[in-house]
Each structure stands twice: as C-alpha cells, then as structure tokens.
Assembly symmetry: C2
C-alpha cells in the first residue's frame, strides 16, 4: 500500500549508536548489490505508518535466505550495531524507525510459500510474503489464512506484532495461529521453535515468546501457520444503528450468546462519512456494524437470524446483505480503507490511533465514555473496531504542527487507556507497543512484569542490537 | 486419587544440594504448623505417578496465600535451596521429586474460586483447585472448563505442564485457555502476566512462557482461565473396529473433514480387556473409539451421522450410544481409569508412558508401526490416546526389578519418539518433559532451542532454585 505523505511528523527520541565504516564495508563486501546505502532506500526503510518522522538506518540489506539474515546479524553483532527487520512497512507504532541507528534487514525477497500441508491445515512460509499473497497462493487448495489486519502486512511483521484484525473474533490472532518458527537470534544462531504437531508440552513455549516480540528477540526466517478450509457458505451484512450504544450492546449480546460470528466490525458515523467521501460507497451515514457469517448454509442462516433479532432489540435497522464475493470485497475494502479515508479527509493531518481491548462485558463502559470525551474535545476523530473482541480504534485527526491539538489528542488517548486498564483490559489489542505505548505498557503490566521482559531481552540480546528502543527502555 | 503402591521404582539421578539447619529453622519460625518435616509428609511430596522412586524434600510448606508462597521462596532464595511446587501429585514425569533436595510448597490449601465472570466466560482461581472441583463450582452458571487430563489434577499443575486431555481436540490445551497469571518468581517477587482481555499485543507473552514451564520459572498463585457454556446438546458414542488401522483412519478423515468433534479417543483392545477386568464394564473387546459431540441438537446429530458414515467405510461397527449423563460419566470414567486398570492388570508392574503427538496426516504412520513393534516385543502394553489431536500413549507394563524388560520398553519408547520426530511431531503432547524426556527434548528442539531455554532460565532464576533438574540440565 502507498503510504500517505509524511511531511509533518513528530520526532521520536533518538539516541544514535556508532555505525563504524568498517562494518558498512564488511556488509558491502558480503552482500554486494543486496546492500544499499542510497538515501531514498534508507528513508523508505526508516518510515512506517506511525505519527513519527522518518528515522533512516545507515544501510539496508535485501536478504534472500536465512544465511543472508544470519550473516548480516553476525556482522552486526561483531560491531554491536542495531538491526531492524523490515517487511511491508505498515507498522502503526514506530517499530521500523532506526531510533538508535543501525541497519534494516528487508525480508521482502523472502516471500515464498515453502510447503502447504492441506491434510493438516498448515503452511510454512518465508516472512516477506504478505497475507494477501499467501491467500492467493493457497486458495486453489480450498484453504485460507484468516488473520487480517487492515494493511496487506507481511506475515513476518504480523508475527512480530501478534497481529489480529477482522476475523480474530472467530479464528484467533497470530498467538493462536503460529505453530512454529525459524528465528535468527542476536548472535546469528538459527533456532527452530515448535513443530507441526497441534499441541506439545516440550519445554518452554519459545514460539509464543517470539510472537509479539516486535523484532527485539529475533528475526523470523520461516513461519508455520494454521490454515482453515474456506467456509461452505459465507454471508455478509451491514446493520445501521441510530445510536452507537445500540450497536455496541448488540455486539455484546451476540458474543455472550456464543454466536460463532466470523467478523463483527463497528464503523461509526464519522468513519462512514469519510469512507463515503473517499470511496463513493453510498453507505447509510449512521453507525454501522459490518458482519460476516461462516459455516454451513443452514448454520449461516441461523446465525444471521439470531443477530438480526438481537440488533432489532437495540434499534438496529434491517440487515443489508452483501451476498456475492464482489459485494463482500467492496464491503471489507471499505472497512480496511477507513484509516486512509480518514487521513485524507483533513489535508496534512495525522491520526493518533488508539488500540485498547477490554473484556466483552466492559465494552460499552469503555467505549461510550470515550466517545463522549472525544465528542466534547472538538478534535475530529473516527472510530472503528473489532468490537466482537472488545477491541476498537479511535483515530484522532491532528495537525502535527499544532502542539495544542496533539496534546489534547494524547490526553484523550491517556484517558481511554486508563479506563481500559481499570476495566481489566489492555492498551494494545493488536498494534504492539513500539515507540508509542511504552508508558502504557508499564501502567498495564506493572514494573515486575516489564522487568521480567527486560531480563529476558538482556539475556537473549546482551548487546541490545535487535530493534533496540522498542517495547521498553533497557 | 490414590496412588498405587510404589514398592519397586527406578532411582532418578540425584544431586542433593545443602539445606542448612538455619533455613529450616527460619521456615519453622515463619510458618509454624504450616511447615512440616515429618517423614510421611516429605515422602508423600516426593512422590508422583512416574516410574521413579520417592525422592523427598527436606520440608513441606502448606501455603495459604501468595504472601506465604513469596515468603517461602524469599527464604529459599536467601539460602539457595530448591523449591518445588506441589498440587495434586499426579505428574507422570517426575516433576515433583526433590532430585536436588530442597522444599516442596504445597498449594492445596489455595483452592478457591476467586471470581467468575460468566458474561466474559472467564474465571480466576487459586492453583490448588482441581479441575473437577472447579467444574463443580461453576456448573450452576451453565459453564464448564474443558481441559481434562486423566487425573483430577490441580489447575496449577495443569498450567505448569501445559496439560490437555480428552476435550483438547475441540477446546485446545492450557496454552489456549490460560488468560492471565499471578506468579512468584525466583527472588520472591509477585508478577502479574496478561489481562482478562481476549487478545493483546502488550509486550512479551509472559503468560505463555510460564504455561508449560514445569515449576522452573515461577510458582503460580492465581490463574485466569477461559470458560465455555455447557453445550445445548451432548451425545457420546462408542464405535468398535476389528482393526486398529480402521479406527485410526476414521479419526484422520473425521478431523480432516473439519467435524468439530469434542472428544475422540482411541482405546485399543488390550486396554478394553484391562478396563473390563478392572471396572466390570462389559465393553466389546475390540479397538474402540470413544467420541463425544457438542452443539445444538441438530448439529450434534449431523456430526454423529457424518462420523458414523466415515467409520463404516473403515470397518467400524454401529455406534453404541451413551445418552444419559450417567452413561457418559461411566464411559469417560472407564477411559480415565485405563491407566490404573492397566497397572493393576499385572501385580507389581509399572507403566512407562509414551506421549508423542504428530500432525494428523502422520498419525497412521506413527501409530501403526509402533503397534507392530510393541506386539513383536512381547512386552505387555496398553494404548490409549487423544487421537483427534494426533496424540496417543503407549503404556509398556514392566517389572521394575527386571532391567532387561525396562531396557526393551525404553527401546520401544525411543523408536516411537524417533519416528514421531521424523514425522514432524513432538515427544510430549501433554505430560511435559520432567526427568524422563530431557534427551528427547534435545533431539526434538535441537541444541540452539534448548540453549535458549537455558538462557532464559538462568536469567530468571540465576541460583537455579526453582524445580532444578527438570526439563534440561543447567
């Protein structure tokens, strides 16, 4: 996806470490044309979808094999230079920025499907493949990989951030769907974690430790994932609500009744207006729930009838159906484009995205009070979310050159995170901590838990070369 | 459950560390009657269901609170004395044996349900509660906790071994069902991991690192679990097969078709004979699949019809139904008692249990060749398993005073594990590594992965006081 213009961004805290010429020379000798120090390349790799300004690495390695990754990390270890893995560049939290300098290892050329085991519903891929490319490659088998963040992210990046998205309410997140990994660690060793067995009690769960480690514990070079059979029947529906509370209470009841809904997304009226303006969709400009049902034809019908009944109780209108694959694609493209539609609704603006997730019973308490605060603030915003999981995103649209607006948006964000933590939730459902949520992580997990994370990091990466400055300070 | 006689067991490798009198005195001063050094108590706590002989700790602390656990660990840390958590004593792998000396911390008095959140399908418990007691406590809410190893294990122990059991084919294992933990670490610090939110990307997944750590990284003092609504309809069936291959191929096809079967257990004809002799059940003495279907009445009927059709193709006989709760309880009790029925079938014998788990497509390759080897060996055995997960257990029944029998049984075990690893499986699906599978873990995970586990262990427990000598050597 093309990133919008990055003219006006916030400067992250920068603490550059030395990158010796001898190191760059050694890289160039080992990697030749796979090593670039061109400013345009470096800037591209020091940029993501966060509010932060470009912070380029000193060089970019285009890795083509696990040996390339291991050799690059070994050289970096020798010179104690930071290493940042780079996939699709779609991080929202500053993960890719070289805030302590160093190099990026771009894994986009490692984009192969290595093996599909249709009979076990597993696939092994290289980290650079994107979720759309993976699904394209396996659809002839009648299988799909459901994890679906907005962007067409790389599987490596999705593993690193423990990503989820619209299908997680039914299929889980990367936590549940990564079976095994090949990882290059801080000294360049290649470690395999997990097997293709469905379950195991064989020692520490290194796979789950690596999933969500945001590039700070290792670089993934192979990833084994669970797959799912394409459902026999799929139907998608839109339901509009005059009040956001009606939409939210419908979702809570749907989840609590155990309806196995496959997607259950809220798009508030603000977002609908922005999406309509951006994509000419002609959606009804109310609060919408976008839903999808997977199963047997009878099962899908039963689920949809149950949810329609619940929605009606809470003031929801009749479902509008998207029955053909084309209509469904249009619907989910609208959902996935909400972020970009919003950014483009206010020229030069940036979005400060929130990512709280709370237990489903607390969703209304968390969301409705935060809507009121956002409305009262006068700051333009949009609200979308994987509400079936208790996860939603405000995007506060600010002028990055206006410190007052920025401060007020961050105050809204703080109030929301505090509320979510009080309600036994988390500051980040799926985006990760990166640069932006380090204080929130501390508030959420507490000093002892973050200290435990630091202890693990220091033990596995004593020179702090793997994506340093992310998740926590050392 | 009452342990069978432990007259003739194998001696584990023992490497006792000093337990200073001053330490025991300090424990007695802090804990009074909650501290016991009586030999009977120590022997009870140095015993489990493994093949190893009793290896008692020097003292047992009956903890009643997180403060008790933290204080006991702090004293142990001060004197560098090993600490072993003790729940139901049902480990099969020697987890509870004080092979390096030290103390046991018995958490059986910490057996409370702290909070049930029916609307979020979560519960928070203390570690000493057993799975049956938990289910008894929540059934009036219309909820259940599905993880179901054979024994009435403690939730703490099940968390420590990443346990699963008969329902895992549908509901997952402890890996998928533990949401959050309170843990006392090696220096007595209390750490909270995770939240009640369904998903999170907030830093390292400490919860999953702790699940399956076998007491070597921390002692659990609170555990938050997922719950499930009691199914609207449940039906259980037995299907007998003239050949084990027919049973196994039926299972593979059932899983590959995506039938959401809730339980799918194999009991071979040997086990059926032993169970019949032990419990007077009058089961047909062929290879049996024991199955359970959960869902709506129509859904359950549809699932059962599909599986009956598959089974018939592979020579399975007509299903015999267990429709009342009493009949179902009788059926699953028979399954859970298979181990004890087997032990009692040959006076003085011990069982060497295997625990391999392979991808479902490899199940027939792994299981059938191993059955042939076991038959050829002449060693009596039983075979049961969670075959829907690709996980099964041989129990080779040996006279522990007969080194030749023991050696031949271990040779069968080695051949089976090698086969499972070649087939991309794991040496332990659910029992854990403990004392007995350290070499297998090394063969499975490889030196770099086990080194990573050791590095984490050394960082979090530098004096190696938490259940030392288990999983790997330091």
């Amino acid at each position: 996806m093309n990133a919008p213009s990055h003219a006006h961004h916030l400067r992250p805290a920068i603490d550059l470490r030395p990158v010796p010429d001898a190191f760059i020379n050694a890289l160039q000798e080992r990697f030749g044309a796979q090593c670039s120090t061109a400013m345009a390349v470096r800037e591209q790799h020091g940029t993501d979808e966060s509010i932060y300004e470009t912070t380029p690495p000193s060089a970019v390695i285009y890795a083509e094999s696990v040996q390339d990754v291991a050799d690059a990390v070994k050289l970096a270890a020798e010179y104690k230079v930071p290493v940042i893995p780079y996939g699709a560049g779609s991080s929202l939290e500053g993960h890719l920025l070289a805030v302590q300098g160093g190099i990026s290892i771009d894994v986009n050329r490692m984009d192969k499907v290595l093996s599909v085991n249709a009979e076990d519903l597993t696939v092994t891929v290289q980290p650079g493949i994107t979720r759309k490319a993976l699904n394209e490659a396996i659809k002839h088998e009648g299988l799909f990989f459901p994890i679906d963040p907005g962007a067409d992210a790389s599987i490596g990046g999705m593993t690193a951030t423990r990503a989820s998205g619209t299908n997680a309410v039914r299929y889980g997140t990367m936590r549940e769907n990564v079976l095994a990994l090949e990882v290059v660690t801080a000294n360049g060793t290649v470690v395999r974690t997990g097997t293709r067995a469905k379950k195991s009690s064989a020692g520490y769960d290194l796979t789950r430790l690596m999933v969500g480690s945001e590039g700070t514990l290792g670089l993934f070079t192979e990833i084994t994932l669970k797959l799912y059979p394409l459902p026999e029947a799929i139907s998608a529906a839109i339901c509009s609500f005059p009040t956001i509370e009606g939409a939210v209470r419908s979702v809570i009841q749907t989840i609590q009744l155990g309806v196995p809904i496959a997607r259950c997304e809220l798009i508030d009226a603000n977002s609908v207006r922005m999406v309509n303006a951006h994509s000419k969709l002609g959606l009804r400009e109310e609060h919408l729930l976008l839903m999808e049902f997977h199963g047997s034809p009878a099962g899908v019908k039963e689920q949809a009838e149950t949810v329609q009944e619940i929605a009606s109780e809470f003031g929801g209108n009749d479902f509008e159906w998207a029955t053909t694959p084309e209509e469904r694609t249009r619907l989910w493209t609208a959902r996935h484009n909400a972020y970009f539609a919003a950014i483009q609704s206010k020229p030069g603006c940036r979005a400060i995205s929130t990512d709280t997730c709370v237990p489903i019973s607390r969703l209304a308490d968390c969301l409705l009070d935060s809507v009121k605060e956002a409305d009262d603030s006068g700051i333009p915003y949009f609200l979308v979310g994987h509400v079936g999981d208790g996860n939603f995103h405000f995007g506060y649209l600010i002028d990055p050159n206006n410190p007052d607006e920025h401060q007020r948006a961050e105050a809204l964000n703080h109030a929301l995170v505090s509320r979510a933590l009080t309600l036994e939730g988390t500051c980040t459902g799926e985006h990760g901590v990166g640069l932006h949520k380090m204080d929130f992580l501390l508030a959420e997990a507490g000093v002892p838990a973050v200290d435990m994370m630091r202890t693990i990091k220091k033990a596995l990466d004593p020179d702090n070369i793997l994506n340093p400055g992310k998740i926590f300070t050392i």
